[in-house]
Amino acid sequence: MALKVERRPAPVWLPPLLPLLAVVITFVLTSALVWLAGANPLRAYYHFLIEPLSSRVSALEVLVKATPLLLTGMAVMLAFYGGFWNIGAEGQFLVGATAATAVGLNMHGVPPWVALPLMALSGFAAGMAWALIPAVMKTRLHTDEVVTTLLLNTVALLLVSALLNGPWRDPISQWPQSPEIASTAILPKLAPRTRLHLGFLIALATAFVVGVLLRRTVFGLRMRAVGLQPKAARFAGIPVERMLLVSALASGGIAGLAGMVEVAGIHYRLIEAISGGHGYTGILVAMLGNLSAPGVVLAALFIGLIDTGSQTVSRALGVPVYLGEVIQATLLLVTLAVLLLQNYRLRWERRG
């Protein structure tokens, strides 16, 4: 008997089940780690997945955690659709947060209905500007955007760090964090005694708009053609470079908006850990969501659940909170592997 790998297209019912399969495989793979950390894997997964949903506060906290991921996930999905491999949502998030803070710090006495749109706009514009650099480099100089967007993340982080250790250092505490933004520049709460804020609805609305744009409009079909097969799109008379630029800019803008939402909804100031990897997690969310808007919403909620759960589980079972991150990282690798391998089949073949 010999084991053979065959390439064969996946049956139609398979792709929607893949994210689920990835989750199951991930849990099997990481259970050894959970066990090593001194906990029963099944109990740990109970705390990861079920416990957070058992109380109102922690269930709403899942939505809070999902909010920035929803936006960065959408940002990454939009870029991938247009064929722009944007690994830079992290950097775009950071400059968006920075720009929003800059506006928010100067909004004292300005009514919220002016302050908040201004902040959102500046966050969006800053993210766009940050994405413009690699986008133009790709369309004009054919530079690989994976590399440039990734490198710009570090630049953005250093920029934030420089601001917080220099001109924006908090004059009261002397910590590397900005002063608090104006009270009128804060996103209103959606539920009392929780952290849930208007940003969640903004994220949902964004997901809806992006989903409709890509699936239901002429523009979206053009963008999909460009992302799937640029050569054929160009042949069909679609302006490939322009579409690529639009998808990159919109993606950067949405990632920047995510930065604004975190500043105005959670921290009320700029801190170095404002993102903490939301941009990178956005890639996971987009892939896990099978690059569809409803899928991304579900994926963001799921990652939000694991994020919340990793705190519950560490409290309840005394395992490190980083276990949640390990599980997320494993999930990304498994998801990518499953997506790649769906078109292959293992088969035993008789000898002779």
Partner: protein
């Protein structure tokens, strides 16, 4: 029926690829010293059968005997040991190595490499079989025809008594085909058996001693070549009578629709590829463009498709200057484009309906939203009109080559283009699809379209074209009425052996 033991005898060969039964109970006998043609459409199972014999695939069931003894062939190594050699369509040569090095590669034997004596052997074999090639030449400097000879030498060096050639003439110009046939006759005289996979009937009846025809994985007949005719073979291949379309009388074709005036363009690497092309195609006329691949026909097509920049010169469509037009403006000007690479002109993961509308999406929008119902109706109508075997919602990548080509054809012809530039329209298609496409192109000619037909298939050009131009080294080296064109005359021009100017051409020759 046969007296002596066949050198190769395959019995009850079954092979399945996923849902496709490529071979279902195939029996095949090869006699010593015969040239045996294996005929059939694409996907009939010819290559699969021979790949099983050469050990590239393993049969799911069935047996093989060589010289009457059961043979277990698990890899090409086993096949070579049994004296079986194969030249596939994709050559397996190391480009930076010399001819001799390639020939002995894998058969070096001892530790010391005796290139001298190997070279002498290669030279001797080359002379004996008329396989003219310099044993010291590096393979990357050789033409396709020469590389094929190296592959044959390789098999002979390994003492092949059975030589399998998979569509050997598909890549050759007429003169090279002639030379290959001479070689095959000499091999036959030396007692080598040859399996010749082909779908060109005229070749088969000329060179083969015996013909076996396959259809959808089964053998439908096997007979001495002398007892059959191209017409009968065609019927066996397809399973029914196919009436070949013929060219109707040409209507007045004196209105220039497409004019190329001293056009220059670069290739992908930025090197000059087209060096002053001047050509004119009139309304109601098919101008064929012949040439060996890589002489600029791809670039010329892309120029008219609007995807390649014109360095110098002018392109006119019905009098309008479209020299710098992109794809969108080319289409607006009335150019219909059926490109060489089907897969690069459709988006594989989009549906048939979406691909059919892709070039004119604005007509399928309502306030920016996609009118899905309209998209679907449009697709259903074209599918019915062009007899495409697909549903509107199928991803286009799942279609067969013929159906995909029909989608592209439908998308183009629906716009009633005034100029059509079409490259290799029937490459890889079966006889039925080929006839269908040919018929549609001739209909367009009758309608008054000006058609530039770029093809490496001379039979296709001779059948459809009113005039034939030959491109060589990025220049048009000859234009002639199709009635005066012969494969030999075209072949000489295609390899740059002669240059014909003037002649009875009413196109713009510089």
């Amino acid at each position: 029926m046969t007296q002596q033991t066949p050198i190769v005898s395959m019995r009850g060969i079954h092979k399945r690829f996923g849902a496709v039964l490529a071979n279902q109970g195939v029996d095949f006998d090869l006699q010593a010293g015969e040239i045996h043609a294996l005929l059939g459409e694409n996907g009939a199972g010819k290559s699969t059968l021979m790949r099983i014999l050469y050990g590239l695939y393993r049969a799911d069931a069935g047996s093989i005997a060589v010289d009457g003894r059961p043979a277990l062939i698990r890899s090409p190594r086993d096949a070579i040991a049994l004296g079986i050699g194969m030249v596939t369509q994709h050559f397996a040569l190391a480009a930076p190595l010399s001819v001799t090095e390639n020939v002995i590669l894998g058969q070096e034997g001892r530790l010391r490499l005796d290139l001298k004596s190997a070279e002498a052997q290669v030279t001797a074999a080359a002379q004996r079989f008329g396989l003219t090639v310099n044993p010291r030449a590096q393979v990357h400097t050789l033409s396709i025809g020469q590389r094929q000879r190296v592959e044959i030498l390789k098999a002979l060096y390994r003492q092949a008594r059975v030589l399998i050639l998979d569509e050997p003439t598909a890549v050759l110009i007429p003169q090279e085909v002639e030379q290959l046939f001479q070689t095959l006759m000499r091999l036959k005289a030396e007692g080598v058996s040859v399996v010749f996979i082909s779908h060109k009937l005229s070749e088969v009846t000329r060179i083969a001693d015996r013909v076996t025809v396959m259809r959808s994985g089964c053998v439908v007949g096997s007979m001495p070549a002398a007892q059959t005719s191209p017409a009968e073979l065609a019927r066996m291949i397809v399973g029914q009578t196919i009436t070949s379309v013929s060219k109707p009388r040409q209507l007045a074709a004196d209105r220039p629709m497409l004019i190329l005036d001293d056009v220059w363009a670069d290739d992908d690497k930025g090197a000059p590829m087209l060096r002053g092309i001047s050509l004119q195609v009139n309304a109601g006329e098919i101008v064929g463009l012949a040439g060996v691949a890589g002489n600029g026909q791809t670039e010329l097509a892309e120029l008219i498709e609007g995807t390649r920049a014109c360095r110098r010169g002018r392109i006119l469509v019905d009098g309008a200057d479209v020299t710098r037009a992109g794809p969108a403006r080319m289409m607006q000007a009335g150019v219909g484009r059926i490109p060489e690479d089907r897969h690069a002109s459709v988006v594989g993961d989009l549906t048939v309906a979406e691909n059919m509308a892709l070039e004119h999406l604005n007509e399928f929008g309502r306030h920016g939203f996609l009118d899905r119902a309209r998209l679907r109706r449009h697709a259903e109508q074209l599918i019915a009109e062009y007899q495409i075997k697909a549903r509107p919602e199928d991803r286009i990548r799942t279609l067969s080559g013929g159906n995909m080509q029909k989608v592209i054809l439908a998308r183009v012809l629906e716009r009633r283009p005034r100029v059509i530039v079409v490259s290799q329209p029937t490459r890889g298609l079966d006889i039925r699809a080929t006839e269908y496409i040919h018929g549609k192109l001739l209909d367009q000619r009758q309608r008054g379209a000006a058609i530039l037909l770029i093809s490496e298939d001379l039979d296709e050009l001779l059948k459809l074209a009113d005039r034939i131009a030959v491109i060589y080294g990025g220049r048009i080296v000859g234009v002639m009425p199709a009635e005066t064109a012969t494969p030999e005359r075209l072949g000489l021009l295609m390899v740059g052996m002669s240059h014909e100017t003037g002649g009875p051409d009413h196109g713009a020759q510089s």
